[in-house]
């Protein structure tokens, strides 16, 4: 394999020109992980293409040589989806950062995959529009990465995920061909399955995104409760009243403590939980629903409610929430970020179970979540200097995912499966389910070279009779899978 790679280097240089192919071991190390730093692998070769045609040519070279390849945008993913392969090529799209077209009457824009999520919004904001998917990393993450991961964000409760905001993708297939996948064209909705396939079906080189009209009004409130249960009751009451807020976020006491230590957000002292509720839309709608939300929070026992009077106050309310992940570093030497989903209605049960897990194991868990859609982000705290602490934290983190599955939820709401969670996939899906999903992969990438080893714990041998695996594993002896 190594010799294949060595031979590939000069060919890629001939394709891309000087400075676009990295083989220097020190520089390669820069790309050894994405946002999930617990998994590292120095890529064999890194390429920095400028065009779709170059990516197609790179993929053709890899296909001919039988070398695996991985696409990477900004490398902010949290499941190791862009983890490189030591025996492969890492295709970095960071040079492809042009916004190619802004079509306001058509409510769409066409962008290259390396374009930063927030830059789309910045470019179209003067026309009264924005790009709705808003993952926390939106200041640095790429639209190509959003497509791969089907990124959400705090506001996807009302506005949906990347899949709902992508109208078409130009894609380099694992055959090295450039094809257009429209959302609404004749034939199969291949785009529908491509978005969120975590880069295992091809590499997107051009994305047509839907632009969303900036709402007339945004109203944000912070409500503080004695307990997490009271906060949960308020969430259920709001949803039950038929209100669809733009966002409902919740933090527990430990997460509040961390945020306070880090950014002095001055959330109400003594709160067992805080809820951030944001409504947006036409003035008259928001005014009526906001009053109702305020009442529902009080009914659920909110002891303090703050309403943002302007954008600055809104930013202050959000500051604590947005800093929560990093802030946990203030109260713990190390931590794991979990991403699981539960049906909203079982929130109190699951939180009680997490409490019990934490008490039994002595591992502290701070809870931050998109409460409106049941997307939990427990932060599992540990001291990496203490022997065995990380393993205990891992065990608690895994047990939380099991809770999600037991309650009919999901092992990931927005971070993706990547390398991090593929081992949990068989707990959520049967072998047949996974086999069926991989039929799509076999259609797109029968050789299994496009971001292999991600999403699925066991690759399907394409072309074989389903359910019967014979002989050695396709990657045996070539590389570690897990």
């Amino acid at each position: 394999m190594e010799s294949m790679l060595t031979a590939l280097g000069p060919r890629l240089e001939a394709l891309l020109g000087d400075g676009r192919v990295i083989t220097d071991p020190v520089r390669l190390r820069t790309y050894e992980c994405d946002g999930l730093t617990t998994h590292r692998s120095t890529p064999g070769i890194v390429v920095l293409p400028d065009t779709a045609e170059q990516i197609a040519a790179i993929v053709r070279e890899c296909a001919a040589a039988g070398v695996p390849y991985v696409a990477r945008g900004s490398g902010t993913g949290l499941s190791g989806g862009a983890l490189p392969r030591a025996d492969g090529v890492l295709i970095v799209t960071s040079r492809m950062r042009r916004i190619l077209e802004i079509d306001v009457p058509g409510q769409r824009a066409v962008v290259e995959p390396g374009v930063i999520n927030l830059d789309v919004t910045r470019a179209v904001r003067p026309y009264g529009y924005y790009f709705a998917p808003d993952p926390s990393s939106q200041q640095i993450c790429s639209v190509g990465g959003n497509v791969a991961e089907n990124s959400g964000g705090a506001h996807c409760l009302k506005y949906g995920f990347t899949a709902h905001h992508v109208l078409a993708c130009e894609v380099v297939t694992p055959d090295g061909e450039l094809v257009e996948l429209p959302a609404d064209g004749p034939g199969y909705d291949l785009l529908g399955v491509f978005v969120g396939a975590e880069g295992t079906l091809g590499i997107t080189t051009k994305i047509t995104v839907r632009l969303t009209r900036v709402p007339q009004t945004v109203q944000t409130l912070l409500a503080a409760f004695d307990s997490i249960e009271a906060g949960g009751t308020a969430v259920s009451a709001i949803i039950g009243a038929g209100v669809v807020p733009a966002a409902i976020e919740m933090m527990d006491a430990l997460a509040i403590e961390a945020a306070e230590a880090a950014v002095h957000c001055a959330y109400p002292p003594g709160a067992g939980s805080v809820l951030i509720v944001e409504l947006d839309g036409p003035d008259a709608e928001v005014a009526a629903q906001f009053t109702e939300v305020e009442r529902l929070c009080r009914d659920a026992g909110a002891f303090e409610i703050r309403i943002a009077a302007d954008d600055a106050e809104r930013a202050l309310i959000w500051k604590g929430r947005k800093s929560a992940f990093a802030a946990v570093g203030r109260i713990s030497p190390a931590y794991l970020v979990q991403d699981g989903v539960i049906p909203r209605t079982v929130l109190p049960d699951v939180l009680a179970s997490i409490d019990a897990l934490s008490a039994e194991s002595g591992v502290r868990v701070a809870n931050v979540f998109h409460a409106g859609d049941g997307n939990l982000h427990p932060l599992v705290l540990f001291d990496d200097a203490e022997p065995g602490a990380e393993e205990r934290a891992e065990a608690v983190s895994g047990a939380i995912l099991d809770l999600c599955i037991q309650h009919g939820g999901s092992i990931t709401g927005e971070h993706g499966v990547g390398v991090d969670k593929s081992r949990y996939m068989p707990r959520m899906f049967t072998d047949t389910d996974l086999d069926t999903m991989q039929m799509v992969r076999c259609g797109f990438d029968p050789a299994g070279l496009c971001n292999p080893g991600k999403v699925f714990p066991t690759p399907r041998l394409c072309g074989e009779v389903p359910g019967k695996r014979k002989g050695p594993h396709p990657y045996e002896g070539k590389a570690d899978i897990f």
């Binding site: 034939g187 529908g192 709402p215 999903m437």
Partner: protein, 398 residues
């Protein structure tokens, strides 16, 4: 064992097909109506063992869509699969079987103040048929099509194995989203048995603001004006020969204020009603139905090309239908379709013929140019290597 006997061992309702049950004239040899997922899986397994070509049937409202199947050895009728499996109102989620009629689903959800935000253009149509054809109406402008609302899907594969994807939570990125792939797949990838949907609350109030428009330019301006305003419409519909209707939903005070604003933007003579105008969300009349998708501004070019006499509807999001009358000769239909596709090609749009009389089908390409057809064929080959699932019904002869 004969296929009929083999099927009768696993499914209580199996019988020979009748001439009247033909799928676009192709008479099914057998009809099976499984009553639950297990029976459906068994029926599909027997069909695989016997090499039967299978075509699913819901309420027959769209059985004439697409091309005739090359073969139809077994029609799988879903009418016994009509349960609302689960409705968790607090989670805004419901799971329904494929044969449940959309309107009945709507009634059940409404009992608890919720809805599946999809219009039902054809009365009687089922959950499974709606997904298999990707059908939607005016509400697609705000809520999208089935692909945006299906969050979990249970299918039976060509080999009789049951497979699920997604789940019953809205926010979920675990594994490939086969739900989106199956939307609009015309029964060619597997048998849809159950679907889980994301729901929305039924709005407390609705208003329809309707005004007359004169010609393509005026229609375009009306749609654009509403879109780029802050009134946040749930739907913006153009209906030939010259009407634009805007649907506003929300709280009573909000809707009333927004309806007033919308009328102000459009036309001081605009009519505001609480109920939908006649024909709202229905396909245009005719014996040939063409489904169009293209960016919103292409409405102008489209209407200019079609002229005032062709029946057409257009959702502001960039999706429309054209209905052609029975008296239009096949070569005239072919000519119009060719010109339509010519206009749409300049706007990255597509036109797909949903149904047409046999003599028209004979002279047109139902699907037009299909991007990524090679990949589609390869996906089909994986799901249905024997090409027994609705063979020939779909794009590219799939």
């Amino acid at each position: 064992m004969r296929p009929l006997d083999a099927l009768a061992k696993v499914c209580a309702d199996v019988r020979p097909g009748e001439p009247a049950e033909g799928v676009l004239g192709v008479e099914p040899a057998l009809v099976a109506a499984p009553k639950n997922l297990a029976e459906a899986a068994d029926v599909m397994r027997v069909a695989a063992e016997k090499g039967l070509a299978v075509v699913p049937r819901g309420a027959e409202t769209r059985l004439d869509w697409g091309a005739p199947p090359e073969r139809c050895d077994l029609l799988i009728d879903t009418h016994r699969l009509d349960r609302l499996v689960e409705h968790t109102a607090g989670d805004l989620v419901a799971k329904a079987e494929a044969g449940l009629p959309m309107e009945r689903l709507g009634q059940r959800l409404a009992e608890r103040g919720q809805r599946l935000a999809l219009d039902v253009p054809l009365p009687g149509s089922t959950v499974g048929g709606t997904i298999a054809t990707g059908a939607a109406g005016p509400l697609r402008t705000l809520y999208g099509t089935p692909r945006a609302l299906v969050i979990g899907l249970t299918i039976v594969r060509a080999d009789g194995q049951v497979a699920r994807s997604g789940g019953k939570v809205v926010k979920n990125v675990a594994g490939y989203d086969l739900g989106r792939l199956f939307c609009g797949s015309y029964g060619t990838l597997g048998l849809i048995v159950e679907a889980t949907f994301r729901l929305h609350p039924i709005p407390a109030a609705s208003a329809y603001v309707t005004c007359a428009v004169r010609g393509p330019e005026d229609a375009h301006d009306a749609v654009q004006t509403v879109f780029h305003s802050p009134v946040a419409p749930s739907a913006v519909e153009y209906t030939s020969p010259g009407t634009v209707t805007v649907l506003l939903e929300g709280v009573p005070d909000g809707v009333s204020a927004r309806a007033g604003q919308t009328a102000g933007l459009l036309d001081e003579n605009a009519e505001i009603t609480e109920t939908a105008p006649e024909g709202w969300g229905r396909y245009p009349d005719g014996t040939t139905l063409i489904d169009i998708s293209a960016p919103p501004p292409s409405l102008r070019a489209l209407l200019t090309m079609l002229g005032p006499d062709i029946a057409a509807t257009w959702s502001g999001s960039g999706h429309g239908h054209v209905g052609l009358p029975p008296e239009m000769a096949p070569d005239e239909v072919a000519d119009l379709l060719g010109r339509l596709r010519g206009v749409l090609a300049r706007h990255h749009g597509h036109a797909v013929v949903r149904y047409a009389p046999e003599e028209v089908r004979g002279v047109i390409d139902l699907w037009g140019p299909v991007p990524a057809l090679t990949l589609m064929r390869r996906v089909k080959d994986q799901f249905d290597p024997g090409h027994r699932l609705s063979p020939g019904r779909f794009a590219g002869g799939i």
